[in-house]
Amino acid sequence: MSETITALTGTGETDANVQHMSMQLALNRALDEILADNPKSVIFGEDCGRLGGVFRITDGLQSKHGEDRVFDTPLAESGILGMSVGLAMAGFHPIPEVQFDGFAYPAINQIVCQIARMNYRSRGTLPMPITLRVPSFGGIRAPEHHGESLEALFAHVPGLKVVSPATPHDAYHLLKYAATRPDPVIFMEPKSRYWQKGPVNLASADMDTAAHDAGTDSGGNLTGARVVREGRHLTLVAWGAMVARCLQVAELAAEDGIDVEVLDLRWLKPIDAEALATSVGKTRRAVVVHEAPLTSGLGAEVAQLITQSCFATLKAPVERVTGFDVPYPSGDLEDEYIPNIDRILFGIQRVLEYRRG
């Protein structure tokens, strides 16, 4: 399915490890390798066995690794997550899936009160190496509850770590990274980007970080944010599907002579505060972009972290361009809801035009 391309590394050499593939395939491949590497890893959820998941992320894994390793559960999210706790206590590394973001809500009690706290409650004797995959965010014109952004909720919960990849390459490496951690990680997959292709460097580590776009950056720095585009005038901070949109915006802004830096936050908890400080310390202006509603969204945290570290040099208050404080709307209105190019450009303009007093 994937096609090997002859990509050029920074040094101009051909790298056979670099393959061009969709995020869907990159995730599938990562899971395949996780199952092969760790006999204690198990994948389960609704329809992720025989069907291979409604997004086919687990396609083929059951037939390859067996029904003990990849299985369908009854239709109950609290059951899926509660069961994960017990499996983790028994020494397994559960990789449960909830089918869509909005269906994580029935499992919130198990996530917040159990998964996130068992290590603490047990004084470190019962770690919870659970990687919860959540197809997340909007943009696919789906029914109600299929386009939610829960990162602010997850990031607020002590005991959870939260990550979201924006590219196939990151999807592959971050998932493999998350699934080998001893702590619970919520893995938010930008579902609108599943089918977009990009280079993935399958080699495991120590690659040139700057060459990420050619797929040649892998294990180098998986724990922090990533500068996707360098710029001097303003930093756009985003994650998930909004990263690609911010890159488009940056290209458009460049036509007007505005040099935008784009930072892919990747880790939504813990947040890479240093990367924020470094980038905005340089550009002195920032706009945070996310799909979730504005109020009490993660954009507030990001903005406050930036303000805290860059207050003295900041040229304007950090702007937020986000979803509105309304329920995620039906397909016909979703383009009105999700930050679009125009709205992000307006946000940039507000920051650039800001004058004190």
């Binding site: 609704e46 329809d47 066995g49 025989r50 069907l51 291979g52 409604v54 369908d72 009854p74 239709l75 109950a76 609290s78 059951g79 909005g102 269906f103 029935p106 014109r141 789906a142 029914p143 109600e144 509850h145 299929h146 504005l294 109020t295 509105f324 404080d325 309304v326 329920p327 709307p329 039906s330 397909g331 016909d332 209105l333 009105e336 809801y337 679009n340 125009d342 709205r343 307006f346």
Partner: protein, 348 residues
Amino acid sequence: MTTEPVLAAVDDDAAPLTHHQLRELYTLMAAVRHLDTAAVAWQRQGIIPGYAPELGQEAAQVGSGYAVDRSRDFVFPTYREMGVARAMGLDMVGYMSTHKATWHGGMYNPLESRFAPIQAVVAGSVLHAVGWAHGQTLSGAPEMGVAMTYFGDGASSQGDVHEAMNFAAVMKAPVVFFIQNNGWAISVPTERQVAGGSVAARAAGYGIPSLQVDGNDVVAVFEATRSAFAHCRAGNGPVVIEAMTYRRGPHSTADDPGRYRTLDEERLGAGEDPLERFRQRLLADGVADEAFFMEAQRLAEEEEEAVRAGIEVLGPRPGAEMFSLVFQEPTPTLQSQATAWREESEHV
């Protein structure tokens, strides 16, 4: 332990269906079958982005929906109750608009139609039915309204269903739990979903009477629903009905059943087509003739055309509704967001 609870024999007005009613049931089923099949085609033609067909569940849906008294009862659907909606006389353009991605809950008026907004959370509205039903008890009217909540075999696994059955039984709420056991929850068959094999069998554990009914027999479904309603109306508490049927089509237009079941399995599981079966019965009983069936088909086609026309001209809702319909009393934050949206997106 406990003895099997039985349905109170209160349905004194349970007269056999008249020929007129039987024909009406057929006409409804034919209309539903045609509209359902058409909706799948609309999706292929790009008229609507998606649809969840109820092919094969016409008897279960029309039979139960036909028993509803719109002057006092209230129905809580999932995302697949087009047949119930049609049987209850909903505005079908308003109903179908949800599949056009116009508005999540549909564009019909739920209060007037006695049909709650379309519900995408599996088992999401089962508890609502219990609350609404308890409201009837609190209101204290004799011959009270009954809530009927629809859900699937897959939904039966959700904790909310258990909480709802227990609440309803403790409070003796007039609610009918109507399960369409169509054999599948997307790709998961009932035997890997419903331990024990029957949702109706769960009812006894709560002291709730239950009926397992051939969900492909529209008359049997109607009669079971009617007697359940009578039981509830008389203040005897909830009833569970499990209509055994089969999801003949894909889960939704995005689904590919070939990945998890063979055509042979489908043929075997589905059994006889409920529409065809009813047709044969009406013919055999001399209730209807070929001319009637042709007329029913003609009406169905006419209706489908009208609904399609309505759907096709349905434009997107004004973006301002995103803001104005969140609350009854708007907030300053939302008002200023609406203003910003208007300026930036509509350039007003």
